[in-house]
């Protein structure tokens, strides 16, 4: 009986020992395959040297307009004559237009909300016309310009203070053809 018990204990001890050994083997990390990084070194395409005109022609009308070559001008309350401080802006606009002689533009006329809808339609037109006539006097051919009045229907900013009104009383220049 005692002998049988000894054998059992031995067996159990051995079993425990081998189990322990097995566990150790399992926890050993498997070797990861080494990935070699391969990079293709492609030859850089040579950038063509574009002329300024070619670059200009590649752009969309929206791009040209968003670049802001043609700055807007503002007007006095209820008036449509060109203010002295706006004349240099029109001078710059005319220079750009003369440098890009394929460009055609629309001259927009806008008003602030302190005029009536109906009267402002006419006033906006007068403002656009003043701006166009001034550009014409600086040598921009009339055929390249067209005017459009939005009255007070397209305000630039919302606001009831004089700064907002000033911003809204304006003439904008939009490139419609290049």
């Amino acid at each position: 009986m005692k002998k049988l018990l000894t054998v059992c204990v031995l067996c159990l001890a051995m079993l425990t020992f081998f189990n322990g050994c097995k566990k150790e083997v399992q926890t050993e990390p498997e070797p990861q395959p080494v990935v070699e990084k391969v990079e293709e070194v492609a030859p850089q395409p040579e950038k063509p040297q574009l002329t300024e005109e070619e670059i200009f022609m590649q752009k969309t009308l929206d791009q040209i307009n968003s670049e802001g070559h043609l700055k807007m001008i503002h007007f006095d309350f209820d008036k449509y004559f060109i203010r002295e401080d706006m004349k240099p802006i029109l001078q710059k606009n005319s220079e750009w237009l003369l440098n890009h002689d394929s460009v055609e533009i629309v001259v927009e006329g806008h008003c602030d909300e302190r005029g009536t809808v109906e009267y402002n339609m006419a006033l906006g037109e007068k403002r656009a016309e003043s701006a166009m006539k001034y550009l014409e006097s600086l040598g921009v051919p009339t055929e390249r310009m067209r005017i459009i009045s939005y009255g007070k229907n397209r305000p630039l900013v919302k606001g009831v203070d004089e700064d907002s009104h000033f911003m809204n009383r304006r003439s904008e220049f939009k490139v419609v053809k290049k």
Binding site: V117, E118, A122, E125, K126, Y150, N153
Partner: protein
């Protein structure tokens, strides 16, 4: 003033009674002019007849509210308050006790019985009695239609009431206006009370300054669809469009009351001038010749004169000229900025806006007395007033609550009511020639 009103009231009552005694077949025509009290009308609850298959209370309430609100709005009738009906016996259409209704100060009694033969159909029996003459039957009419037209049916009945009393019907008239609720400025239309608002143009460009044709089947407006403010005529029932004037800015078209002519503003000559166009032949005649802004033309109801705005003295003022462009005379003498003249349907008044300290208020000019009445005061910017077909109400734009919305008021500035709330809404024009559509 009170004594005077009382005298006038007595005269009206006497006239009414004499007219009623003239015979049962005689049609009643009573002219209610300014300052005269309104006719007290009682309208017991609208009820379904015993035969009615369907009794939809929502329909019943819609009819009752629409009728009540129309008549209350009219300034011709005055509704006897419902609380008073509790003092007398309940209304029975088969056996009306007129003495009871007389005791609560009603002159006119409306009996409105509704029958719904099926859930989708309404038949309305509309009966009107003269309470103080032993309950003389004045008129009765039946109106029928689909369930969804419950409001329209009620408006028709209220219009019939106006006609029977010699007044211009207006409850089925429409207002055209501009709204940006769907993203950009488009043309919309609605009932006079702000009901059933719907979009007329569906596009991505800007459409502004709409007005009505004489037959109400077309609207004229300025469209930017070709990147220019062009004057367009839009046929409401066919969707057909016709460009009328496309050089430079073209706007503010007004259709003549008695002929197929429009007058409008155009800058096609290089300056804002007025033109009359014959819509049958397309022939045009220029009315103004100067270097200043002339705009916003509006025909007189007779078609013989045109009111307009001109800056010929340096600031925009209101003028009147003969329809041929001659005999120009200035109307506004005070203030330095006036615009948007619109002649009342009876020709006695001209609505206009005036700028005072960079705000706009609405005024009426009284043609006969050469006097001016201010209608709006200290409440934002008020613009583009337009008369109702009967000349008792005005629709206009105001930013008194923040953004621009449409409002109604009476000819004397009373009873302000807001009509719109979605997006910004402006430039309303009320139909003005409704009598044509209602001539039987």
């Amino acid at each position: 003033m009170g004594e005077k009103m009382k005298t006038i009231r007595i005269i009206v009552i006497l006239t009414l009674m004499t007219t009623l005694y003239l015979g049962a077949q005689q049609e009643i025509r009573i002219r209610i002019s300014e300052g005269v009290s309104m006719i007290p009308v009682a309208m017991p609850a609208v009820a379904f007849t015993a035969q009615s298959v369907v009794k939809d209370d929502a329909v019943r309430a819609e009819i009752e509210d629409t009728l009540w609100n129309d008549l209350e709005f009219s300034r011709v009738f005055r509704m006897v308050p419902r609380e008073h009906y509790g003092y007398i016996e309940a209304f029975d259409p088969q056996n009306i006790r007129f003495r009871d209704w007389e005791s609560i100060q009603a002159n006119i009694l409306i009996s409105c019985q509704v029958e719904m033969p099926e859930a989708s159909r309404i038949v309305m029996a509309f009966r009107v009695y003269d309470v103080r003459n032993g309950g003389r039957f004045i008129f009765g009419r039946n109106f029928g239609g689909k369930r969804e037209f419950a409001r329209l049916i009620s408006h028709r009945a209220a219009d019939e009431m106006m006609k029977q009393f010699g007044e211009t019907p207006l409850f089925t008239s429409k207002i055209v206006f501009v709204s940006n609720r769907d993203g950009n400025e488009e043309i919309y239309m609605m009932d006079y009370d702000g009901g059933r608002q719907r979009r007329i143009t569906i596009n991505t460009w800007m459409d502004v300054l709409p007005s009505w044709s004489r037959d109400h089947e077309k609207i004229l407006f300025t469209t930017y669809r070709n990147n220019n403010p062009d004057l367009l005529m839009f046929h409401l029932y066919t969707g057909k469009t016709e460009f009328l004037s496309t050089q430079r800015a073209n706007y503010c078209a007004d259709w003549a009351p008695e002929s197929n002519h429009i007058v409008y503003t155009s800058t096609k000559s290089g300056n804002a001038e007025l033109y009359v166009r014959d819509m049958d032949t397309g022939r045009e005649r220029r009315l103004t010749f100067n270097r200043v802004i002339d705009t916003t033309p509006n025909w007189s109801p007779s078609g013989r004169e045109i009111a307009f705005t001109s800056a010929r003295t340096g600031t925009p003022q209101i003028y009147i000229m003969d329809a041929e462009g001659t005999n120009v005379r200035r109307l506004t003498t005070e203030g330095n900025y006036h615009d948007s003249p619109e002649w009342s349907p009876d020709g006695t008044r001209i609505l206009f806006v005036s700028r005072i300290e960079s705000r706009f208020d609405i005024f009426t000019y009284h043609v006969r007395t050469n006097t001016i009445t201010k209608l709006t005061e200290n409440a934002g910017r008020n613009e583009n007033p337009s008369w109702s077909p009967d000349g008792r109400h005005i629709v206009f734009t105001s930013n008194r609550s923040g953004g621009y919305q449409l409002y109604l008021m009476d000819y004397d500035g009373a009873n302000l009511k807001r009509l719109t709330s979605t997006g910004e809404n402006k430039m309303p024009k009320w139909q003005k020639f409704t009598h044509r559509r209602f001539d039987n």
